[in-house]
Structure formats: structure tokens, C-alpha cells
Amino acid sequence: MTGALLEVSGVSVSFDGFRAINNLSFNIGPAELRAVIGPNGAGKTTFMDIVTGKTRPDEGRVLWGEKSISLLRMDEAAIARAGIGRKFQRPTVFEDQTVRDNLLMALKKDRGPLAVLFQRRNAADEARVEELAGQIGLVSELSRKSGELSHGQKQWLEIGMLLAQDPRLLLVDEPAAGMTPEEREHTTSLLVEAARTRAVVVVEHDMEFVRRLNCKVTVLHEGAVLAEGSLDHVTANQEVIEVYLGR
């Protein structure tokens, strides 16, 4: 398929005989917001693991970018540098370091050890960090250790770190988990805003949150795509209702 940023086709993977992903195909364009839903064990997280290089599929292709580079031969760090950012289900930030250091570390710059050794703070980076902190509402917390932040703030910090990486594709696992309604509102607008310039894939359980994202939805079930389309379209699908919504 031309024009796709990420093209996953015919991917399968099994763990100890259990087929977590079964002949899965998935495409996303360069500036698109997509929600992936599905019951527990549908393979949502495994799907992300495959794209980010954490899990190697048994078969299938994962192609990236205009040049259709295969991601299967790259390690996690190389895939991240190619422009795929990932946010985990549980907020994972570097708790012993300040919010500023977390964001500085995520800023898109040369990642090699020798280059990093001589990267010192500069005004441009500081300004970018301030700007990002403004977006995620953590300006006043910049000098605090991130371990002291509330759960919701950590989620935002992680989203901020993703944005700092300036990836072309964001994979976001349950961003709204454990957030208050206002925090969800903010998160929604952050993601919608990000999807104007890049591809964003959101894995989510919460239907209400997905509805607010107002985007195309892919329903996974038993490791394969069950339905794809607008939320209203997929929620009207009889199969989807049976396996997911009806329960």
C-alpha cells in the first residue's frame, strides 16, 4: 500500500503454543489518529511489542516509512531513533531524576555515547523543554523529581517525553488509565493535537475516551483485526458486539 507510514502485514507470533497475534495486518498513514480496542488478550500490547522491536514475530512483514525499511532486523533503540515512540501502560519515567532531566533526555538529538558525553545544556534545549512542559502542564514542576509527581502527572510527563522525541509514529498504551475526567480531557486534546503532524495509535479500553478521540477505530480480537472503521461503524458490527461490547 502506498502512502502508509507503517505497514504490518501477515504477522503472527506465538508464545508457548499460544497464538498471541494471528496473521495481523495493519496500516497507518503519516498524519492519522487511530484507536485500537479489543478485549483483554486480544494482542494489543503484543502488537506494540512487535512494532517497537521488543518481540520478534514468527512470520510476516513490518515495513516503515517511505523507503519501506523492515523493522524486524532493528533493535528497540534503532527503531526508536527511526521515529517510533512508545508510551507504556503504566507510566514509566525516570523517577530519580527531575522532570527537566527526563524531558532533556527524551529530546531528539544524537543518541551515541560520545556525542552525548559532550552535549551540555544550552538555551535552545532549555526553551524546548519549557515549551513542552507548558504543553503538558508541568512548568512549575520542572525541578521536581519525577518520582514525586501524581499518577496523572507522570502520564503526562511520559507523553511529553514522547513529544520531545519528535517521533513520526506514537504508540500510546492506555493513556487515560487512572486519570480524573479533567485530566482525560487534557490528554485527549494533547493526542488530537499531536496527530495533526504525525501518526498516533492509541490502545484503549475505555469506550468513552475513544469516542472523544473521534477517529478511525481498529478492533482486535484473538490476535487479528476483527473490524475497522468509525466508532459507530464498528460498534454496529455484530461480531464486535458479541466478542467485546456485549460482555
Binding site: T52, K54, D75, E76, A77, A78, A80, R81, G85, R86, F88, T92, V93, F94, E95, D96, Q97, D101, L104, M105, A106, R111, G112, P113, L114, V116, L117, Q119, R120, R121, K145, G147, E148, M161, Q165
Partner: protein, 407 residues
Amino acid sequence: MSFLRRNPSVPVFLGLLLVFTLTVTLMSEAYGGGLSTSFVKTLGKTLCLALVAVAMDLVWGYTGILSLGHFAFFGLGGYMIGMWLMYARTEAIVVSSMANAEIPATPQEITDAVGAQIFGVVGSSDFPAIWLFADSLAMQLVLVVAVPGLLALVFGWLAFRSRVTGVYLSILTQAMTLALSLYLFQNNSGLRGNNGLSGLQNLPGADAIPQSVMSVWFLWTSALALGLGYLLAAFVVSGKFGSVLRGIRDNEARVRFLGYPVERYKLFIFTLTAVMAGIAGALYYPQAGIINPAEIAPIASIYLAVWVAIGGRGRLYGAVIGAGFVSLVSTWFTGGRAPDIDLGFYTIKWVDWWTVLLGLSFVCVTIFAPKGIGGLVDLALSRRAPDRHGADLGPDLGSLREKEAEE
């Protein structure tokens, strides 16, 4: 300089080191003071141990790699300088004794005689291939850096590439250390087996200089090396590189998903610290006078980890305090100067019981005061540990524990 302002512990440390070295110098026998030459040497050696502890803190306290092999690198550095010291010194003796012969000795005869002198104890007289450069100080100094560095590079590349972490990596490094020490124990290893290299305190061509003066020179050289090593370590851990290292310690997978090539960082820090350890060893053994394979045994590397833990890992001065404190106290206890305690039915002799005390204090520090002695600085500056309801700072085995963290 903004670097020094951001790291206030650096100027304080360097200042204290300078004061310490000056004080010891003025109190030394060479300058008419009361400190014995052997004690000055002990202090000089302690500075070298502090340097290798700083290296250990970089690799364990900051990066979370519990290496049990850094004393092997330390020993290798000692062996490399020891080869030159022993060769050049023996050569000088042989030349002077042959000078009285009626027929002047040929270079081959001199070399053979030196070989017989050095390797007689292991029943050989030929120079093994590894002694190829032993007559050149410059080459052996290069090897002080190159041998530990290359070993760490190759070992680290193999281990980190396979993503061996945590306890498994510790065991692997310990196996490397044990293998190296067992190899060196063999007579045909080329380094005189369990006899090791000796007479290292006598610098070739410096017979006229008394040991009391020499000890002060080595004290200054060791202090300089420690000061530079500390500066380098502080430079490495300040700024973004340090952030990445601490990130690897607390949550390696996350660092990888940020796009940092974690293996290359680990390899970099492992090799750099191996080189630091090699240099520390090269300064230590001329002061100790002798090196043998027992010095490289795994227990030495475990001691190194104990020093860093007792001093407080994850802070550079903690490593220095730990190494200094524990090794000096150890010298005191094992030197027979600690008074025995008579319990009536049993007399506690500290020479035997010191290791038990050390082990106990290690356990106590880990359980009750994870910040170690360095934590006293936090008390003085009223820095507190965060209340994280028992949660550590990251999912990885090496991550900082709740009580080690600062708010």
C-alpha cells in the same frame, strides 16, 4: 566554571584531597615528621583504592552493573607496570654484576641472565612472549591502559550484546576474575605463577632516593590520579550522559525505547572504568612492592563492592569515603594494633574476627543505612529520602532503592 558550580562536591573534594596530601607530606619521615614511611605508603595505596572505588561507583552505583571483575583490571594494571619494574631493576643488577667479568657480556648474555634471574623460581629462564615490551617503560605504560581496557571491551561486548544483566552478569564477571587469577597461578602463565612479581618498590635507576622520599612521591602521584579520576567521573555523570547512565540503572528498557543504544553505553562505561582501575593498580603495586595472583581473586572485587556500599553508592565521594574508611580500619584491625577483647571464656582476636565484623557491618549498612557513610552528608545538609511507600526507583535489579534516593 559552570561545571564546578553544578557539582559543588568536586571543588570540596579536590580541596580536601590537597589538604590531606599536604598534611601527610609535611608529617612524613622525609620531611622530618612522625609518620612512618610504611604508613605513608599505606595512605598512598589507600588513594589508589579510592580511585578504583570511584570506578566501581561509576559502573555499579551509577549504571547498575554490579561488576565483580574490577579488581582484576586493577591487578592487570599492576602486573603491566610490575613487568617493567622487575625487568629494568633486574637488568641493572645483572649489568653491574657482569661489569666485573673479564670479557664484557653480550646483550644476549645479559638478557639470558635477566631471564634466569626472574624466571628461576618457576624453573625457567626464557622470556615468555608477553614480556616482549618489558624493557620499555613507555610500552608497559601503554599496556597498563590497553590490557585492562581491551579485556573489558571484549568481555563487555560479548556480555552486553547478549543482554546478560543483573545477577547473571555479576556471576559472569566473577567467573572472568576467577579464571584470570587461576591462570596466573600457573607457573607457565609467564608471570611467575603464585610468586607474582616482587621488589616493585625499588624503582630502577632511583637507588639513591630513599624509600621515605619515594613514598611521598607516590603519595602525590596517587593523589593526582585520584583527583583527575574524580574530575573525569564527575564530568561523565553530570549532564545528559549521567542521566542516561542512571536511566539504565533504574529502567534499562525505557532508555532503549527512547532510542539510546544501551549496550554501547554500558560498554563505554565498563571499559572506561576498567582503564581507571588499571591505572589505579599501576600506582598501587609499586607502593605495595609485590603483586601475586591472590590479589586478583574474586574476593578482592567483592570487597570493592562492599566499600562502595558502605561509603554510599551513587555518589562519587561515597566511594572514596568507603574505600578509605574500610581499608584503613582494616589495616588497623589486621595489623595487630587493635586490642583483643577478653570475654573470660573466649578472647576475640581482631585479626581473625575483623572479616566477621566487616561482613556484619555490610549487612547492617545495606539494611539500616542504605545510603552508607555518605548519607551523613545528607544528614548534615538536611536532605531527606522521599517517602515512596516502599517503592524502589525503577524495575531493574540495580535500581536505587527507596532509602537511597534523595527528595
